[in-house]
Amino acid sequence: MLSRTANAIYWIARYLERAENAARFIDVNCNLSLDLPPWTPPQWLPLVMTTGDDRWFMKKYKQANEENVVSFLLFDAEYGNSVISCIERVRELALTVREVFSLEIFEAINSFHLQLKSARKQARKEATDRWLGETRRFSHHLSGCMNATMTHDEAWHFFQLGAYLERAEKTSRIIDVKYFYLLPSPEYVDSALDNLHYYSLLNSTSGLEMYLRKWGLVNPLNVIDFLILERSFPRAVLFCVLRAMESLQAITGMPGMSSPNQAEQRLGLIHDDLNSAKADAIIAKGLHEFIDHLQLAINDVHSSIHGCFFDIPLPEGTDGTRPAEPRDSAH
């Protein structure tokens, strides 16, 4: 398929996943802040840290309170990774590759974008909750449409690849930030507050019930195991890496492709690391270092995918203009 088209679909998936994650993070934090004891100030800064764009935030908003953080993540059109900006990009990109999608998919994107845009004009606190839910529903609706109405061909696999890599990265980021910001000292461990935070960490990934079903009681080791190393929970890092690998292999297995390529090799290394990792060893060696390493590795996969599929060097003596490509706005 056309490189430009593949690239656009890959980014549609990433922005969609990014919007969904932002909505989840806000939602969980709103919930958590209501449950905190009165002497504990609500923790809004960690949410900003999760994005990696805290400097940008502080410059514009100065203070990390609920109102600022929610408007930053949900409706701030100037911030490239807010929900509304992500949806705007999804729609812009969908317009450039509109011929690839079924009508249902395009209609879903177009309608949600129009709704969100008009909601922004009348954004009030009560509306926040509604739009967080709508964003998640939209993301699920669109993934459903993709699965049910589109051929599971190359385009579909690029969508999966983008979505799962983005999700793997976001899950690792939220573990990192929550774990280190909320639990700076060991004596908090096992306190009531501590449990609350683990609940919120699991909730951020919609994984609390799934976790409880598997492990019963909440303890840090098992939470790390569940969110990073679980093979069957759809927001766990390893699960995402496995799905991304399947899609990448499906793509490189298509006629005319050369395999194995650098993207496959790099993603394979991440998989091998996770596959042999144990939660206690991760914590002993340092969770933050582990996640840092993981995120860098995922970034490397992104750039390999770019070089292997979206921007293949032209043969000698061929003269072509370089297509404009969507790239990450932040980080």
Binding site: M1, L2, R98, E99, G256, D319, G320, R322, P323
Partner: protein
């Protein structure tokens, strides 16, 4: 006597009668001069009268909301506010009876055949110029005459693959050609979308009317593209678009999708090893046929405009060598400017040996002294058009103009006589449109689409555009026009 049946619509309220419906001194598509519905329209007239006005307005709103949701929008040039708009949709269809359509169709086939022969001739032996049927300067000095195409023979000798011929009815109800669009005629996606929406909007009315389907247009278009391929194996066709901000971008996406071909931009294509290739995820892939929706001058910066970012460097050379087909062929614009238009009846006679089935509208060319004088003396009665203008821009409608506008045009005509033509203001026909108050007559035109491949195919009906502003004669969407579904009855 117009039969007004006082049935109530299913949602109650008053029925929308045609009482007070008064065509503004022109031929009306639905009603004969004595006020009775024409034979082909009788059924529709009866059925429309059964609806309550509110019910119809609700249906209209639902149809337009569906268009917004589906993103059936167009971009307005120079309008910063809302760049994406839907074309207002009129849910009253325009009907064309079977026999009337048959004669229109044969006229269109004849015209396109002749225009194609003409283009082939002027880039070949130029017999028609040597025989002095047409003034040579009109052709050779036209900005759309491409020297690069002289001596070139496109695949299957077809130049005018896709034509959109604008038709109006004059005061006597006779169909006349108003304009030939041979370069990148747009609007066909609206024909298909309008039909899709009409089937949902008035399903029962539609069901009983035996309307000829239009849905196979993309298949016919794809067959035509494949017919032009320089390779025997399954050809790779693409649609080349200027991109997302082009006013017809929706149509480009729609047609590419309906044909299952790739939608590419100039930067997706490169010339490699004497072939045009697209940049795919598995490297370069050869392209055989390009349905291009960018103008000639932007096609190839090496041959035409060097500042073009939309085209592909080296494309024209590949085309000249017959390794890729371009649709429509570069250079066809020489046959669709408004000055040449005046000579199309001669062109038809010259190449087909027959009288034109479809007449032209009388046209005066300001480049000739006598005709210019006539134009200047009758500005208040005439419609003045720029020879290379389109989209309803740069026009003077004499009877609706101010003295100041007429002076301005007189000045322009004196300065650049070769750039202007004039035609009598036609009382173009009206058809009922649904407006807030009920049914009112509005002026309409018709753009049928003609495909020239192995044979010549005319899409039954075409795009009916309607001037929704009361009294307006301008149907262009950029000037407040809307569209209707066109039903050719079987």
């Amino acid at each position: 006597m117009r039969g007004t049946l006082f049935f109530q619509g299913s949602k109650g309220g008053f029925p929308v009668a045609f009482e007070g419906y008064q065509p503004p001194g022109c031929y009306d598509e639905m009603f004969a001069a004595d006020g009775s519905p024409r034979a082909d329209w009788g059924d529709l007239h009866r059925r429309l009268e059964l609806f309550a006005r509110e019910e119809l307005l609700t249906k209209k709103a639902a149809a337009e909301a569906a268009m917004v949701r589906m993103g059936i929008t167009f971009n307005v040039y120079g309008d910063e506010g809302g760049t994406e708009k839907i074309i207002p949709f009129d849910i009253v269809p325009r009907l064309i009876g079977a026999s009337e359509w048959a004669s229109l169709e044969s006229g269109l086939v004849q015209r396109v055949q002749a225009l194609n022969a003409f283009v082939a001739d002027v880039y070949g032996d130029q017999k028609i110029l040597k025989d002095r049927v047409i003034p040579s300067e009109l052709v050779l000095r036209s900005p759309h005459f491409l020297k690069a195409c002289v001596g070139l023979r496109p695949p299957q000798d077809i130049w005018c693959h896709i034509s959109g011929i604008d038709i109006v009815r004059d005061g006597d109800g006779r169909f006349r050609v108003l304009e030939d669009n041979l370069r990148c005629p747009s609007g066909v996606s609206y024909v298909l979308k309008n039909r899709f929406i009409m089937k949902k909007t008035l399903p029962h009315v539609f069901q009983d009317m035996r309307v000829v389907p239009v849905d196979d247009y993309p298949v016919k278009l794809l067959e035509m593209l494949a017919y032009l391929s320089p390779r025997a194996e399954r050809p790779v066709a693409v649609l080349l678009t200027p991109g997302r901000y082009n006013s017809a971008y929706f149509e480009h996406c729609f047609l590419a999708q309906k044909m299952g071909i790739g939608l590419v931009e100039g930067s997706d294509l490169v010339v490699h090893g004497g072939e045009v290739c697209m940049r795919t995820t598995s490297g370069l892939e050869r392209v055989d046929v390009i349905y291009r929706r960018i103008d000639d001058e932007f096609l190839d910066p090496q041959v035409f405009r060097s500042d073009s970012l939309l085209g592909v460097a080296g494309l024209f050379e590949v085309y000249r060598r017959g390794k890729v087909a371009l649709v429509n062929a570069p250079g066809v614009g020489v046959a669709d400017n408004k000055a040449l238009y005046a000579y199309v009846p001669e062109i038809i006679k010259y190449y087909t040996g027959a009288e034109p089935i479809l007449p032209n509208v009388e046209t005066f060319l300001a480049r000739y002294k006598k005709q210019r004088q006539h134009i200047l003396e009758n500005l208040h009665k005439l419609v003045v058009k720029e020879v290379s203008g389109s989209g309803g821009y740069g026009m003077l409608i004499g009877p609706h103009s101010t003295a100041g506008q007429r002076e301005e045009f007189a000045r322009k005509i004196e300065q650049h006589p070769e750039s202007y033509i004039a035609q009598p203001t036609l009382a173009i026909s009206s058809a009922p449109s649904l407006v807030d108050g009920g049914f009112e007559p509005r002026h309409v035109d018709l753009r049928p689409f003609v495909l020239y491949g192995k044979g010549i195919y005319v899409l039954p009906g075409g795009l009916t555009r309607v001037a929704l502003k009361k009294g307006s004669l301008v149907v262009n969407s950029s000037q407040g026009g809307g569209v209707k579904d066109t039903w050719v009855l079987s």
